[in-house]
């Protein structure tokens, strides 16, 4: 008879939770809460309409966008793997002009905080896109995709070489006054060196991590499963790796971090914040649980209230020793 009854304790807790401050500043990007939808998993913000809207979360990193439209890679583009999945979408997108004309106004109208994820083949291309975004109202910041493992030129090539990272960031910083946040590749020997190069070039924040370069083989067909042979591994399989990289970078570099990789619940997200992330990105987890971002926000609030903490910012780097 008393299933789900709201008791006094819960009501008190509700009051405490309302006091919790979830706001964070990610290198100049003001977020209402630390939960960010990862690029490539939430389209341009409206594919999950009816389940979760773009204004619900701290920010939306939109699908990686290039100067000109791209058709994307040959299918198959995805395959499930143990505790994860591979993708090789190949940056299919309608190009920056369509984004600015069609998608950005809708996002702005809904009050979403938008982080534009951009990719190019040359530093000049990145700069050109950034320049276009500078003139378009409604963008909070730019995430530089210098780590996409799925395109032949550009992308990851920048992300695995310190000089290239430096060059791209400098070019973009000169083209825009918006906060600039490179998304680094985990496919490197020393992630700290890459992050340090980004800081030196003037990055405002760092996004960690993109997918891990991986593959799968069809043993009946005796060939790679993915049309593009290689793809990026995401999902809970990569969480410990991502967490380690966030921790290392947070210790060595003095920039706010957007941390993520395999977050499936609020506990995972809190781990990332304690490892040094100022905000967390949620990607593959949304495919499994479309309202995961909301669950994570609720879970963070509940954790903070339960530990008598008033601000989510007190979690950032709390576990660093």
């Amino acid at each position: 008879m008393h299933v789900g009854r709201v008791d006094a304790r819960a009501a008190a807790n509700d009051h405490v939770e309302a006091q919790v401050d979830l706001r964070v500043n990610l290198g100049g990007m003001e977020l209402a809460n630390p939960v960010v939808m990862a690029s490539g998993t939430f389209g341009y913000g409206f594919d999950y309409e009816g389940l979760i809207g773009p204004e619900t979360v701290g920010a939306v990193c939109v699908k990686g966008t290039t100067l000109l439209p791209r058709a994307g890679n040959k299918p198959p583009r995805i395959i499930e793997t143990p505790s994860g999945m591979l993708n090789s979408i190949g940056l299919e997108n309608p190009g920056i002009e369509t984004f600015i004309r069609e998608h950005l106004p809708r996002l702005r109208e809904r009050g979403a905080t938008v982080i534009a994820n951009i990719a190019g083949e040359t530093a000049l291309e990145y700069a050109k896109i950034a320049e276009r975004l500078e003139a378009a109202p409604g963008v909070a910041g730019i995430e530089l995709n210098v780590s996409c493992p799925n395109i032949a030129r550009g992308g990851a090539h920048f992300g695995v070489d310190q000089a290239s990272i430096h060059k791209v960031i400098r070019a973009v910083k000169q083209a825009t006054s918006l906060p600039v946040m490179p998304k680094l590749s985990p496919n490197v020997t020393d992630i700290v060196a890459m992050a340090a190069a980004a800081q030196e070039a003037g990055a405002d924040a760092i996004s960690l991590i993109n997918t891990l370069l991986a593959m799968a083989i069809d043993i009946e067909a005796r060939r790679p499963v993915l049309g593009n042979v290689f793809g990026g591994l995401s999902g809970p399989a990569i969480k410990p790796v991502a967490l380690r990289m966030v921790y290392q970078v947070a210790k060595a570099v003095d920039l706010p971090i957007l941390g993520g990789g395999g977050i499936m619940c609020a506990r995972d997200a809190i781990e990332f914040m304690m490892a040094g992330a100022t905000a967390v990105s949620i990607g593959t987890g949304t495919f499994v649980n479309p309202t995961l971002a909301i669950d994570v926000i609720d879970g963070m609030r509940s954790y903070l209230a339960g530990h008598n903490l008033t601000s989510v910012r007190s979690l950032v780097g709390a576990a660093i020793i």
Binding site: G4, K63, I78, D295, S302
Partner: protein, 405 residues
């Protein structure tokens, strides 16, 4: 009859706890006054929170006060505006039967999906069955500050898409799927027992185009001159291979209800695989749905493949008045059907199957190449959002289907 009517209406905004307490107030009131309460709690949702608020409240209320309806305002507004609105439901398993070799029928209580699903659409199911009533209450005293998920799924990670096979709008609304065990996901799903819960997302994708407007205009014009004659009603040809029959069963039953005639050609490996779908097809109005079968082993119907029926007498002669063709099954089969239709200038559609991640068009993982002139740069469509139903002539078909489960 002297039944007291006590209508209640509430507006609560975005507060799951507030919502639960509204429910409790009403339940309390019903108990204290001993009056039957019929009312509506309207949930205004700016941000949709199906699992933590609406779903829990609905379940809670239906258990405690069946006369009280919880009604989801945002969803209704979206539906009224014709917007594409999938929903998430924690669906009770009503029935789960092994109906053939490695073949299962699963019926789920999913009122919201059942209310809005159209033939050809699919549901995306988290195949980890959960015991009922462990939905993580955010303030459950047992785990006061645990931010963990009720289930932390590891393997298999992704949801699995299933065509909607049948719908029962009586008794609250249920959906049924027909599936075969093909891999880790479907194998895990076989563990779901009646009473367990499954997380269901849907209805998703673009379904079949029904000859609805055509039949309406026809019956209107007919009603003036002559009584509605079945001979003039639209005639659809449905061609299914193997498990591809699943969306066609829902389609055939929908067509029959709409007064259309449906001829179903159904091919499978053996007779035993066909039984469940045949039973459902026969349960439709017999005069408007006719079924012809083929099996590879000859254990039922014509021995051979289903497309043999297109040229076999006496059926072939009867196909002259076909208005539209719908097909689902192995891609070589669908390619043959497409050729048959295009050669005769009959419009038609096919339903494609592939691996999906998001199911809503966000990840672009399920891309299929569209037909284009030689040398044209590739253009891809999303099976989950632009499909799974495509018109004939739209998509490049594969000689062998990739992306099993």
């Amino acid at each position: 009859m002297g039944i007291s009517y006590h209508g209640t209406q509430f507006d609560r905004r975005e507060n799951p706890l507030g919502l639960t307490s509204v429910c409790n107030e009403q339940i309390e009131l019903a108990r204290d006054t001993a009056l039957p309460i019929r009312g509506i709690i309207t949930v205004f949702r700016k941000n949709t929170r199906p699992r933590t608020s609406f779903e829990l409240a609905r379940k809670h209320v239906s258990a405690e006060a069946p006369n009280l309806a919880v009604h989801d305002d945002s969803r209704q507004q979206d539906c009224a505006a014709g917007r594409y609105v999938p929903c998430l439901e924690t669906a009770d398993v009503l029935r789960h039967d092994c109906v053939g070799p490695g073949l299962y029928e699963l019926e789920l209580s999913a009122p919201q999906v059942a209310a809005s699903a159209a033939p050809g659409q699919f549901v995306h199911i988290h195949v980890h069955p959960a015991q009922p009533h462990s939905p993580a209450q955010p303030h459950s005293p047992a785990q006061p500050h645990s931010p963990a998920q009720p289930h932390s799924p590891a393997q298999p990670l992704l949801r699995r898409p299933f065509s909607i096979y049948d719908i029962d709008s009586n008794a609250g609304g249920s959906i049924t799927i027909l599936y075969g065990v093909r891999g880790a996901g479907t194998l895990l799903l076989t563990n779901a027992r009646p009473g367990d819960c499954l997380d269901v997302m849907g209805p998703l994708g673009r379904g079949f185009t029904l000859p609805e407007s055509q039949s309406q205009s026809q019956s209107q014009s007919q009603s003036q001159s002559q009584p509605h004659s079945p001979a003039r009603s639209p005639h659809a040809l449905l061609i299914g291979g193997g498990l591809g029959i699943a969306p066609l069963v829902f389609l055939a039953r929908t067509l029959a209800r709409a007064g259309c005639r449906a001829t179903v050609l159904y091919g499978a490996n053996t007779a035993s695989q066909m039984q469940p779908a045949l039973l459902r097809l026969q349960a439709s109005r017999a005069e408007s749905v006719r079924v012809f079968t083929t099996t590879l082993d000859g254990s039922a119907g014509l021995a051979g493949i289903v497309t043999d029926l297109l040229t076999a007498e006496p059926l072939a002669a009867e196909l002259g008045d076909i208005d539209s063709i719908y097909t689902c099954g192995p891609e070589p089969m669908m390619a043959a059907v497409e050729q048959f239709a295009l050669a005769r200038r009959i419009r038609g559609e096919m339903s494609l199957e592939t691996s999906l991640a998001c199911g809503v068009g966000a990840c672009l993982g399920c891309a299929r190449r569209l037909k284009a002139g030689p040398g044209a740069s590739p253009v891809y469509a999303r099976v989950c959002k632009d499909g799974p139903v495509f018109s004939f002539g739209q998509v490049e078909l594969n000689p062998i289907a990739y992306g099993e489960e």
